[in-house]
């Protein structure tokens, strides 16, 4: 687990809100090895989601370097970054963010439209991803026909389907009850331990953090400690 998956070096992120400049991250440095499962915790406004967005290539740092899987993603243009995301990272959101007009399998297939896979191959990959999250029998259901936990499983299947090595999850259990949350976190744990996915989650929930291999605490845009 020594080869680095994510390397964040001296990263600063400043947002401009009108005339005001808000520095959210201050020279943050962090290494996450391949196969790690990291929980980012901290109070609101500490920069957890900002850091997650930067690692996932959704945003670019104001300064500093970010290397993910050997790629300097802070140097990529908008189009290149989009293509990089499509092949290298899967996203799971607090509110699932599924497309309401598509069925579960349609949602999972969406990232595969960016690949050169045939329709038959896409269907096969979708079936495997839904099988992994235990929703093979709900493939034809629309999101509104699923429970919150099932929706999040579909979101995880969508994140997995293009087989990225890195999963970034922003409060993946924030909208779920304890039991369902534990099931989702258990699923992430399986993906980490049995499928070797590197996972970074942002959470406020200490119980959720317990599923991770380690927890990192952020406060005021800086990393405080590294707990085993």
């Amino acid at each position: 687990m020594s080869e680095p998956m994510v390397q964040v070096h001296n990263v600063t992120k400043v947002y401009e809100r009108g005339k005001q400049k808000v520095e959210v991250l201050h020279g943050l440095t962090l290494d996450i090895p391949k196969g790690d499962f990291v929980a980012l915790m901290g109070p609101s406004g500490s920069g957890k989601t900002t850091l997650l967005n930067l690692i996932g290539g959704l945003d670019k740092p104001t300064s500093g370097e970010i290397t993910v899987g050997g790629n300097r993603i802070d140097q990529l243009g908008s189009g290149q970054l989009a293509r990089w995301r499509a092949h290298n990272v899967g996203f799971v959101f607090q509110f699932y963010n599924l497309m309401p007009v598509l069925s579960a399998e349609g949602n999972v297939e969406l990232p595969l439209l960016l690949t050169r896979l045939s329709a038959a191959q896409r269907r096969k990959n979708v079936a495997v991803a839904l099988e992994v999250v235990g929703l093979a029998d709900r493939a034809k259901h629309k999101p509104r026909e699923l429970s919150g936990g099932q929706e999040q499983r579909v979101a995880i299947a969508r994140a997995l389907v293009s087989d990225p090595q890195l999963l970034v999850c922003d409060e993946p259990t924030g909208d779920l009850d304890r039991k369902t949350a534990d099931e989702i976190l258990g699923l992430l744990q399986v993906l980490n331990r049995e499928h070797g996915k590197t996972i970074v989650i942002v959470t406020h929930d200490p119980k959720a953090a317990e599923f991770a291999r380690r927890t990192l605490h952020l406060e005021k845009g800086q990393l405080l400690e590294q707990a085993a």
Binding site: N53, R85, M99, V101, L114
Partner: protein
């Protein structure tokens, strides 16, 4: 699932709204197809091919009467076998039901229009009854007129010598058409030119609105038309000679510049459509900003997301536009059938081409701004609801 499937699925996320918008596009293009066909008819040049009759009117307007004394000159032109003439009477049945009614020479008209079928003795009666009138079957049935009946009809234009515009005619014949096409046109009424000449107060004696030249089989209609107009050039009665079809069109053109009217109607229709569909598209993008951000998160580029939104607009306008144009074709065919081929409301290649251009332009007009907004979307801000 395909990208096209995704576009269509998004389009119908709000079925009622999309259906209503689609219907407004269908209606707009139905109107476009029909009105553009009308415009094409009125804008088209003269077509002499296959013409068997020519209409001669005063060059200025057919409301300016020409002297009946022109008849021998017209009949002397090679290729012209017989000449009839008609004078607009402006008949009104009861208080305000206008009739298509002309004063004419019965024998000449009978010769020139063999398409009307009527017993010979009724033609004879028409020729020999000065106050005689013949009407088409449709008209007789519509107003319940019977042979031998005296029919009071007033004229919008012509008073009698006593100053009264109330005339009275003897119904001596009811004609029909030789086939279905002509039977549909039996909404006409004819009176005797001689009686009209003598009885009207304005002393219109010896003048008529237009001549109808019956051509010999295979005669060169265009050449005859030019000969007629050249014959009366620089005379007090300059002429304009055209086919029956073109004459009918120019008759309708009197109500105004049809092309201009059509263009204004279409401008109003498409401007309204622009607002309706543009609003639908803008609303559709506004309410799914987070979804568009998720697409970008998954790896769809700004250009792809731009394309998705534009494709939705294009699909909506294309589906509605083509449906509207097809319906216009069907409606045009019905109008053509109902008018016995007199009003050829066909969507020709030009109208279809204009329709396709309108579809593309309308798609861009309603889709471009929402698509640009989707393209410019910053993922982080959109996901955070900013």
């Amino acid at each position: 699932m395909t990208r096209v499937g995704f576009v269509v699925a998004n389009l119908f996320r709000r079925r009622v709204r999309t259906t209503l918008t689609l219907l407004s596009v269908v209606m707009a293009f139905l109107l476009f197809g029909l009105l553009q066909s009308v415009d094409t008819i009125f804008s088209s040049g003269a077509d002499f091919v296959g013409a068997t009759r020519l209409f001669v009117q005063a060059r200025v307007s057919f409301t300016v009467a020409l002297p009946v004394s022109m008849v021998p000159k017209l009949e002397a032109i090679p290729g012209v076998t017989r000449v009839a003439y008609q004078q607009w009477f402006g008949g009104v049945w009861q208080t305000n039901t206008p009739l298509i009614m002309f004063a004419l020479d019965p024998q000449r008209y009978h010769d020139v229009y063999p398409e009307w079928t009527m017993p010979e003795q009724q033609w004879q009666a028409f020729e020999h009854t000065r106050t005689g009138m013949i009407v088409g079957r449709q008209l007789a049935e519509q107003y319940g007129w019977k042979l031998g009946q005296k029919v009071p009809i007033s004229s919008q234009i012509w008073p009698q010598k006593n100053g009264s515009k109330a005339w009275q005619f003897d119904l001596v014949g009811i004609f029909d058409g030789k086939d279905e096409e002509w039977q549909k046109r039996t909404n006409l009424a004819f009176i005797q030119q001689d009686y009209f000449d003598e009885a009207n107060q304005f002393g219109m004696k010896g003048r008529t609105n237009f001549f109808i030249l019956k051509l010999a089989p295979g005669a060169d209609a265009e050449a005859i038309s030019k000969t007629v107009d050249a014959m009366f050039e620089n005379s007090p009665d300059e002429t304009k000679t055209q086919t029956e079809k073109d004459f009918n069109i120019s008759f309708v053109k009197q109500i105004g510049d049809i092309g201009l009217i059509v263009r204004w109607i279409l401008f109003a229709v498409f401007f309204t459509l622009l607002l309706v569909v543009g609003n639908t598209m803008a609303q559709s993008v506004r309410e799914r900003i987070p979804e568009l951000a998720v697409l970008k998160t998954l790896g769809f580029t700004d250009g792809s997301v731009f394309g998705f939104v534009l494709a939705e607009a294009f699909t909506l306008v294309l589906a509605g536009g083509l449906t509207g144009m097809v319906l216009a074709s069907l409606a045009g065919a019905l109008v053509e059938q109902a008018t016995g081929g007199q009003f050829l409301l066909q969507l020709n290649g030009t109208v279809w081409l204009l329709g396709v251009i309108a579809i593309v332009l309308m798609s861009l007009a309603v889709g471009l701004l929402p698509a640009l907004r989707a393209r410019r979307l910053e993922i982080v801000d959109a996901l955070a609801g900013r």
